[in-house]
Amino acid sequence: MLEGLRFFGESFITFMSLGIIFNVLWATQLGIIVGMLPGLTATMGVALMTTLTFRMPASEAVLILVCMYVGAIYGGSRSAILLNIPGTPANAATAVDGYPLAKQGRAGRAIGLATTGSFIGTFIGMIILALFTPLIGKFALEFKSFEFFWLSIFGIVICGNLTAPKDPLKGWIAGFLGLLVAMIGMEGIHAHIRFARPGSELSGGIALLPAMVGAFGFAEIISVMKISAYEVVKTKIERVIPKFVEIWMHKWTIIRSGIVGTFIGAIPGVGEDIAAWVSYDMAKRASKTPEKFGKGSIEGLIAAEAGNNACVAGAMIPVLSLAIPGSAPAAVLLAAMFIHGVRPGPLIMIEFPSFVYEVVVMVLLASAAMLILGLSMVRWLVKVLLVPRQKLMPIIFALCVVGAFAIQGRVFDIGVMVAFGLIGYILREMEYPMAPLVLGIILGDILDKNLRRALILSDGTLEPFFNQPIGLVLFIVTLFVILSKMKWFQNLMMMLKNLITAPFRQSKGG
């Protein structure tokens, strides 16, 4: 603990230079703009920024990416409030109460409260990140092939379940397709080339970044251009800086949403959008005035924003401790860390012990910049929303093309980007979520190596997969997640519940 504080202090001092603070400010501001513009998501922002920073030193580049991430998730609240279009999917819950507030002429107040809620949410997430990452890292040192196999299956199943709540089957299909994408190219045990001709470009495998730029960039451009134009609410923006009393009144909502958001962020692949909805839903259930939700409830707005921003810090917990992303933008962040030579994972506290605390300081700096920038320049920034999409989208596509190409200098990667964009668009239209697909591409390698190693260790018997405590718990939870979506299982559970509670009800009645 004391060592942690020392690392935190040291990192904080190293980051206190004018150059770095300047980087924090422009990257967060750019993040806010990216987040604000419908069609530019946090994932796309972080992915494009990775291509722009890959020649910088590791800590500086990761700092800029973290600022972009925090800024974009927050920035999306602006268009959610003013346009009723969430700037990023993370802000869908924000729009439910933010837009009615703007229509009532309270846009400034809504923006101010969303900013403060986001800041406190990120702060709570940051504290949990600092406390839990080293603990999970130490715990993960115990993981063997059996545990890693179950962890990757668990990640895909729970991610598919939560990102496609209406139809988890499609979430699971997307996840397994992602795992299969990772199988293309040379495998890690015998160096055999799978699903490609030796010597062809495809034999090098499909790189994560071009695939993500396609699935989140190009696919998004197509979706945005397809719909009719949007209109900005014409409203006067009055006082933005919120009163302390207003924040204090909602302290429990903010703290609850912060904690819930962080833990949802830590679940593999489950990102800010789900964190915001769950926080929103919990706030509604706990509220004294649930009828106001959806009609301009301050409580709902704050819950959604604190939840989605806390999720950012939460998503970094598994990135650092297990090398498994907690959300789609965190997947890009993870890829960027590998590009820069930082190897996150269970060994991080041994190999790069100060890095975890450096990331904590980065989150702190980004959230401070977000608070300052978010509460100032509000009127000026609204003008960004007036940029017509037909002028913006071709520029973004040009950046997607050059971004996909720049990292490895291969024209082939442009083709990968385009292919993933088209497939991503079609899958999205059919309501297949993209997050499990991306998680699958990352987990594919882990699954491949560990399943085969585990089978070699067990000599083909399946027993050791089920008789180790951690593996068994992961298996039971995975099974429960799948079964919980089936009608017969839900009915069975209801019957059991009635059976167990019946004697108590009878004795109460008697």
């Binding site: 397994f176 596509f397 093309v401 088209l422 089978l455």
Partner: protein, 171 residues
């Protein structure tokens, strides 16, 4: 996509998934097992892709059954529905976007110098979506000027940024 069309889409997709899953499984079984090198059979390259192919085929099968229960097999494709789809405003926007982007990314890149291709693409994109039919060109001067300005400024900045600042050898 309309909610009512979803079972139809699921029906088509499920068949594709089953075929895809089984194909992957067959290719995986055919992968070398390095038996002559006395390698542990469980480390063969085909084990995991085969396992994944089988799971995708099973999930596809579940989707197929569900779509059949929801009557997704009645595709209802006729000349009229196709015509309606083509005439829809959002379809033309969709096709134009995809077409322009594909021409730029797959034809222009590598064929014309990067900066020229990018400026042309951005200019064409703005023009296609802002040009108003039936209004004389003279009255659309501002639009042409705007498109030229935006495309030249942004195209050249992207080129300079990547070529000279990030030292990327652009195609």
């Amino acid at each position: 996509m309309k909610e009512s069309n979803m079972p139809k889409a699921d029906f088509v997709m499920s068949i594709l998934l089953i075929v895809f899953g089984i194909t992957v499984l067959i290719i995986s079984i055919g992968m070398p097992r390095f038996e002559e090198m006395d390698v542990n059979p469980y480390s063969a390259p085909g084990v995991v892709p085969g396992f994944l192919g089988a799971i995708i085929a099973v999930l596809g099968f579940v989707l197929l059954i569900r779509s059949i229960v929801r009557k997704g097999f009645k595709l209802g494709i006729s000349g009229r529905t196709v015509k309606e789809w083509i005439r829809d405003d959002s379809t033309s926007r969709l096709m134009l976007t995809i077409g322009l982007c594909l021409i730029y990314a797959l034809v222009f890149i590598g064929l014309v110098p990067y900066a020229v291709g990018t400026v042309l693409f951005i200019f064409a994109f703005i023009l296609v979506f802002e040009y108003r039919r039936g209004i004389p060109l003279r009255e659309q001067k501002r639009m042409f000027l705007g498109a030229t300005l935006v495309s030249v400024l942004s195209g050249v900045s992207i080129w300079v940024l990547f070529r000279y600042l990030f030292l990327v050898n652009l195609p």
